[in-house]
């Protein structure tokens, strides 16, 4: 297969960026999109051109490191797929593929396709945990957890922290990311006690870190590679409201 690529290149956070055109030949359908970029990079290095900078690590859809906008959508047009999981057989031979970085105020571009996402860690620091001490605890079966609750918590806990939801949101909101964590912990008996505090402070810090507010566009759900549902946002809103009322009272 052969492809024409339009790739965003930018030398540094302050430098202006633009699209560059590349042709890649001899692409094998089994290749992943990132392996195709590896191949292109090999060719660029051999020519003495700096290779395209992009991040990845696990290359199996779980670490959340990779993340680019492919043909206009975060993680590419296929649903429930991370960038590293995209395989070339999903494209038409000869197609033009556009690749650019996640774009959001809270995610400044560092170089080419690589963005800075430290804000997401800050949001978790604001309460995305249970305060259980590390050490000896009651037996894991001492508190029973209804299977449905555990399954629901697991659905939400599957978030890989990639930030695609932020990149897809017109307001650059991290609401889906926050809501996923609130839903994960708040559904389990171990996380419930701290839910009010967690909902308030995570939402506040989210805004401090430059993420926008949610105005129900729901683009996030469409791009989320792990299928996190916007219904979790409604749950977060309820938890937030309840906690704010309590705080005021």
């Amino acid at each position: 297969m052969r492809f024409h690529l339009k790739v965003w290149r930018q030398e540094g956070p302050e430098a202006p960026g633009r699209f560059f055109d590349y042709d890649v030949d001899d692409v094998i359908p089994e290749m992943s999109l990132l392996e195709m970029l590896d191949k292109l990079n090999e060719e660029l290095i051999k020519k003495g051109t700096p290779p395209i900078v992009f991040e990845s690590d696990c290359r199996e859809g779980i670490c959340g490191t990779c993340g680019m906008v492919v043909n206009g959508s975060a993680h590419g047009p296929q649903p429930k797929t991370t960038t590293c999981e995209i395989r070339m057989r999903h494209f038409q031979d000869g197609e033009t593929i556009t690749i650019e970085p996640f774009r959001a105020a809270a995610f400044p571009v560092q170089k080419d396709l690589l963005v800075e996402r430290a804000g997401l860690d800050k949001v978790i620091q604001a309460g995305g945990y249970t305060s259980a001490y590390t050490g000896t605890h009651a037996d894991a079966n001492a508190i029973l957890v209804p299977k449905d609750d555990q399954e629901y918590a697991m659905d939400a806990a599957a978030c890989i922290g990639c930030g695609a939801c932020v990149a897809a949101c017109p307001n650059s909101s991290a609401m889906l990311f926050v809501a996923a964590k609130i839903a994960h912990l708040g559904t389990l008996p171990q996380g419930m006690p701290e839910e009010p505090k967690r909902a308030l402070s995570m939402t506040e810090v989210m805004q401090e870190e430059g993420f926008g507010a949610c105005s129900n566009h729901f683009e996030c759900q469409a791009v989320c590679p792990k299928g996190i549902q916007v219904e979790t946002i409604a749950r977060l809103n309820r938890a937030f409201l309840k906690a704010s009322l309590k705080r005021r009272a």
């Binding site: 089994e30 690590d57 696990c58 978790i124 259980a132 957890v145 209804p146 299977k147």
Partner: protein, 637 residues
């Protein structure tokens, strides 16, 4: 050099408790005066950082990814072992201990393994308290499943994302400590080197991966938790960034490298498809609970799998190992797959794959149950291969996966360098010559949550806090060394890329130091490695500068260390003239092709000491004694 493992004596059941009771303590008020560096934020480093910070130490945690949550522990799928005996199938601490020692083919320390089994239950309690959503039954109780090499059901899991959930537990605990100011995380900073002051580990030198700047960090002790080295084979189940750099630099500073030849080849991965691949994807071993492994009986049978009748299929694991069947340990299953393919009965385009078939399980339990158990793994497989495993069997083949070897540590997890601790996959401690499934997560968390937090205090109590500062001359010296090495890499200006060399090395190791090793293949590899290294140092081509974000340079640095490491690994494999666990020497096998151990001569840990560039390292031996379990021929028949 005499190697003192500091292994306690007395009844094995109480060794750890008694040992712990005699460790020196630091008063709570004094702890904050001590700084500990933890390199790595996986299950080992993450659990250690969070616990040390909670105890009151001042912790600096480093990783090369952009967030601590992305360490490769995140990719573990199948599960974590714990001797909880929840299902009442006769599990116990002793049984987990026994199976681990046996699974490791009697090449691990009994005391360490017993402690690991003993702590396994606490880990689960801890994780549940953190909100890890382990799979549950309708009763609300925890579910378990079986893993290779075990006769009981003791593996807990979170769908196919157990590592992710356990790591998020650690990461969240870290973030809580960070918010309280006792822990500081330094993402995107790669440890280049260990800094010794008066022979003790007192800091590290890092390269900031965004700016290319060198930075010095001083501490009262250094903990290495940088994961395994399976990536020296180029294609492995590890992350593309996983590397041996940090432990190699410690080795070059005098830490001993133990049993580097023990590398695990995982039996169930999506098969190799070509050198363009950047990694091989694991299909969790848990699939072998319900999947049946087979190849056609006839050589070169090209019929589609569903058209091959029962009578023409060879369920070779069930045939050869009737009591464990599809759950035979990894080393045995991997070799059996290789044997079948070498015999011309492999499937798929390359002939190097075997089937993992769910047809019978789907008939027995229904699609829904199978979906619940393995849904996301089936999805992943479908995604990558384009084939639907509900409709036709998966094709799998072994791939390089895990490092049992690593830096040598004593019972306190301290290396032979005072103040240098090594935990998680980076150390050599608990798995002997082969690790059982679902035991690495257990070990990483046992090390970080429950062992190191006690034992490190014993060392720190002997030191004066904050004695060494980053302006100490030793930091400057190390920086000059490493800067020179990096400048050398940049200035070669040859014609071949890092990836080119990485593939060449990986291929050499896979073919000669992989699943079957011989005196001849190992000697060949030992001749070839220096040749590749020389070519690397004279013909490498990099672009860009060192004072910048330069991913090629990062990879070149890591590969330069892998090239040196490959030699120690191969040397160790050649010197161990026996087969044990994952280390299979073709000269040493039983008539029916099983590993043939030589206990009289090789019941020891081989710990290699660096002797300088181009010099042959020196082997030290730590004899292994078995007081509780008598080494026997490992049988899974």
């Amino acid at each position: 050099m005499t190697l003192d493992g500091k292994v306690p004596s007395g009844p094995i059941e109480t060794r750890w408790a008694r040992h712990r009771d005699h460790l020196r303590l630091i008063s709570p008020a004094n702890k904050r005066r001590y700084t500990v560096i933890v390199v790595g934020t996986g299950l080992g480093g993450g659990s250690a950082s969070a616990t040390l910070a909670q105890l009151g130490y001042n912790v600096l945690a480093f990783c090369y990814q952009d967030s601590a949550r992305r360490a490769h522990s995140i990719a573990a799928q199948g599960g974590i072992n714990a001797a909880k005996n929840y299902v009442g199938d006769g599990d116990s601490v002793y049984r987990l201990f026994y199976e681990t020692v046996k699974g490791g083919d009697f090449r691990s320390r009994e005391s360490n393994v017993y402690r690991l089994a003993e702590l396994s239950g606490n880990i689960i309690d801890q994780c549940v308290a953190q909100g890890v959503p382990f799979q549950r039954e309708y009763s609300g109780e925890l579910s378990t499943r079986s893993f290779g090499g075990a006769l009981v059901s003791r593996t807990l899991f979170c769908r196919g994302q157990t590592g992710q959930q356990l790591l998020l537990g650690c990461y969240q605990a870290m973030m809580r400590q960070a918010s309280e100011g006792r822990l500081k995380v330094f993402p995107k900073k790669e440890m280049l080197d260990l800094v010794l002051v008066d022979g003790e580990a007192k800091g590290i030198l890092v390269r900031d991966l965004t700016t290319g700047e060198y930075e010095a960090y001083a501490a009262d002790a250094v903990v290495i938790a940088t994961g395994g080295y399976a990536s020296v084979f180029n294609l492995s189940t590890n992350a593309v960034g996983s590397n041996v750099g940090a432990i190699m630099r410690c080795y070059k500073k005098g830490a001993l490298m133990a049993n580097p030849c023990y590398t695990q080849i995982h039996p169930t991965c999506i098969p190799f498809a070509g050198w363009f691949q950047s990694k091989l994807i694991l299909m969790s071993e848990s699939l072998r609970n319900d999947g049946r492994v087979w190849v056609p009986k006839k050589k070169g049978d090209k019929r589609p799998p569903n058209e091959i009748p029962e009578s023409d299929r060879d369920y070779y694991l069930e045939r050869k190992y009737p009591s464990y069947g599809n759950l035979a340990p990894r080393d045995i299953s991997s070799r059996a797959a290789k044997e079948a393919c070498d015999d011309g009965r492999g499937v798929g385009p390359s002939g190097y794959a075997v089937y993992l078939d769910f047809r019978d399980a789907i008939q027995r339990h229904g699609r829904k149950v199978i979906e619940e158990r393995y849904g996301n793994l089936f999805e992943l497989y479908d995604h990558i291969s384009g084939e639907d495993p509900y409709a036709q069997p998966m094709k799998i083949y072994p791939a390089s996966h895990y490092a049992m070897g690593g830096l040598w540590v004593d019972y306190n997890l301290m290396s032979n360098i005072p103040g240098l601790f090594v935990i998680g996959e980076a150390n050599f401690s608990d798995h002997g010559a082969n690790r059982l499934g679902a035991s690495a997560l257990m070990q990483g968390l046992a090390d970080g949550y429950f062992v190191l937090p006690y034992t490190i205090g014993d060392y720190l109590a002997t030191t004066q806090p904050g004695k060494v500062k980053p302006d100490n001359l030793e930091f400057q010296k190390v920086k000059e060394e490493d800067e020179a090495r990096i400048n050398r890499l940049i200035s070669i200006k040859g014609s071949r890329t890092v990836l080119d060399f990485r593939i060449e090395l990986g291929r050499l190791l896979w073919e000669n130091v992989g699943m079957a090793r011989s005196e001849e293949s190992l000697t060949k590899a030992l001749e070839e490695i220096p040749r590749i290294r020389e070519a690397f140092w004279s013909d490498l081509k990099l672009t860009g500068s060192e004072k910048d974000l330069n991913q090629q340079l990062e990879r070149a640095w890591r590969l330069s260390e892998a090239l040196d490491f490959a030699e120690v690994l191969t040397l160790d494999a050649r010197e161990r003239r026996e087969s044990c666990g994952a280390h299979f020497r073709v000269e040493h096998q039983t008539p029916d092709g099983e590993a043939l151990r030589n206990d009289a001569e090789y019941t020891y840990v081989a710990a290699w000491e660096y002797k300088g560039e181009g010099e042959k390292p020196e082997m030290h031996k730590e004899p292994l004694t078995f007081e509780v379990v008598q080494p026997t021929v490992r049988s899974y028949k």
